[in-house]
Symmetry: C2
């Protein structure tokens, strides 16, 4: 039976990447040791690290005036690092569209003057007109284009004068974006890049060098940039796996090709849900995530049975986030279209049986 893993994160990785990593797990390129047993300063590992950065730069068309940092931890670390590096004595604006952007704002409040604008409306849409017309007074504006808990996305890049910071943890490399519109992009790896324990930061170099005097060294972007992300021993195996994912993405045709597949996968699933009386998704169509498709059964008493039968059919981890319940199918880059087809087929069968 083919298993399809819809976990929101740590999420599935491309099957081809996992098989290759397994094959060379104990013997990387004939060296007789694992890539995770190599010194991060060895020429063999440096080549892995540099290729990963180059491939990412190519995939995202990252301009030269941006540093690409491979850091420890997840996005939560960056919730602190961003104000510690960019806030100075100024104030910042946080746009709230879901659990993660709210959490980022709450953490940032430790470090200075944070203003928050809640974009969420009762009709499960986002009202971008609430964004202040003049943002020039802010050190930066922060937002999260894809919120995994409710499956809410903000596809339009907010038009702000202030440096724009975006948490791409759950949507990086899922569709094209113009890096030059942003001051800083960041993403925990465990959804669309690699295993948990690695975070990418892409930051315009002119913003570096202003870290708070009490910024922990491991969160100081300038220090990381000066040392090519090797101020301390990086999470070498996660970095290597991320690099393998980048190579796989290039073989798939890059981000534009993935975006096409992602759009098709999401359309298929939302289309099925909308056409059904048995399932529903309440998010406004223009703000529906292509990465995390949430849905509810018309009768929540069937939830347990749905999950058990899905699991038995090889469709794993469909349970919604514990804060909101219901179901959630996370369909990042690594989820093949066949996985969505299998899910739709199962949902249809389940609805016919219990509807």
């Amino acid at each position: 039976m083919t298993i399809y893993n819809f976990c929101a994160g740590p999420a599935m990785l491309p099957t081809a990447v996992m098989r290759k990593a397994q094959q060379e797990f104990c013997d990387y390129q004939g060296l007789g040791v694992s890539v995770m047993e190599l010194s991060h300063r060895s020429p063999e590992y440096m080549a892995v690290a540099e290729k990963a950065e180059q491939d990412l730069r190519e995939l995202m068309a990252i301009p030269d005036n941006y540093a690409v940092l491979f850091l420890h931890g997840g996005a939560r670390g960056q919730f602190s690092a961003i104000p510690l590096n960019l806030l100075g004595q100024g104030k910042a604006l946080y746009l709230e569209s879901g659990q993660w952007s709210v959490a980022a704002a709450t953490e940032a409040e430790k470090y200075g003057d944070i203003e928050r604008v809640d974009l969420r409306c009762e009709s499960r849409t986002l009202d971008l007109s609430r964004i202040p017309a003049d943002t020039s007074e802010y050190a930066y504006v922060h937002y999260c284009p894809n919120e995994t808990v409710d499956g809410v996305a903000m596809f339009d890049v907010p038009e702000v004068a202030a440096p724009l910071v975006a948490d791409l943890s759950s949507c990086i490399l899922g569709r094209d974006l113009d890096v030059s519109q942003f001051a800083l992009l960041y993403a925990g790896a465990q959804k669309n890049i690699g295993p948990a324990g690695l975070t990418l930061v892409i930051v315009r170099r002119d913003l570096l060098g202003n870290a708070d005097s009490r910024c922990p060294a491991i969160l100081d972007y300038q220090l990381a940039a000066n040392h090519d992300s090797m101020y301390n021993t990086p999470p070498t195996f996660a970095w290597y796996l991320a690099g393998e994912v980048f190579q796989w993405l290039k073989h798939q045709g890059g981000v534009a090709a993935m975006a096409e597949v992602n759009r098709r996968k999401a359309d298929k699933l939302y289309g099925f849900i909308d056409a059904s009386d048995f399932y529903r998704n309440a998010v406004a169509p223009s703000h529906r995530s292509e990465m995390n498709v949430t849905f509810q059964l018309h009768d929540a008493q069937l939830d347990k049975r749905f999950l058990a039968e899905a699991e038995a059919a090889g469709l794993k981890a469909l349970k919604g986030h514990r804060m909101v319940g219901g179901m959630r199918a996370s369909i990042y880059n690594a989820m093949p279209e066949a996985g969505v087809d299998a899910l739709v087929q199962f949902m249809d069968h389940f609805a016919r049986t219990y509807g």
Copy 2:
């Protein structure tokens, strides 16, 4: 040819652990997915996480009044976390015995009043009599029992009244220690535990809850303890591999059994070096590391040839730290005695050829 990897870190992992991890890399316990693709909140992953903690508690006889935290990053993150959690408005004392304890003190100075005592003497020994007799005024005393760069160890636990904090990154689980003598122990994983990107913190619970108001959430021990190290998504694969290493250690007979092998390995190597005119180690015998054996060739012009021939003989990563040069054989728990035998045999052959 058998390969022996003497890298100081990321270091080799036990061969049996690596083979098992390879075997189940794409299919953990018949689930059809990798352990790194499991939600950290799934029952299957929670069992992995809990077993790792229980096995570590057993191996180190950790009393119940200590929390065991599995955190992101390396020891450098803890250089900041320790003062941010323990310093308060007080002052702390840092004992300096090498590069790492100095770096820890330098980072701590960002956060308050830090006093430093350099224990290093010109004769490459440590003078513990320099430790102030009365330390009761300090919030804590920090030291590093094993310094990897010079291969210098401090085997006696300093007798201090203040809470004692130790960086065990390069010696944890290498010999027995009495956890109750310490307020906090910490260790980056990549030397004696698992892959880079995981750090263990073992901390007396009564010390929690006093973090600085500007402590990043990911460095707040109380938050980590409250959430069983899952306040954010932990580095799940590294945690799993650490757990596999703990199981392997139990099968080897636990820490006492490893300590015996480690003592034997170190004695063999130092014994050979001391008996030779060709090699030398200048560290005072009572402070020689059992984990990182540094040595110099009598003629540094032979260094390159030594490294090239060692590599050709399957003995990898013997180059000393870039700050001090010479050679370094890191012989952590995962290095079998046969690896040390092979190294001694090679060194002997090399000395006879070029001596």
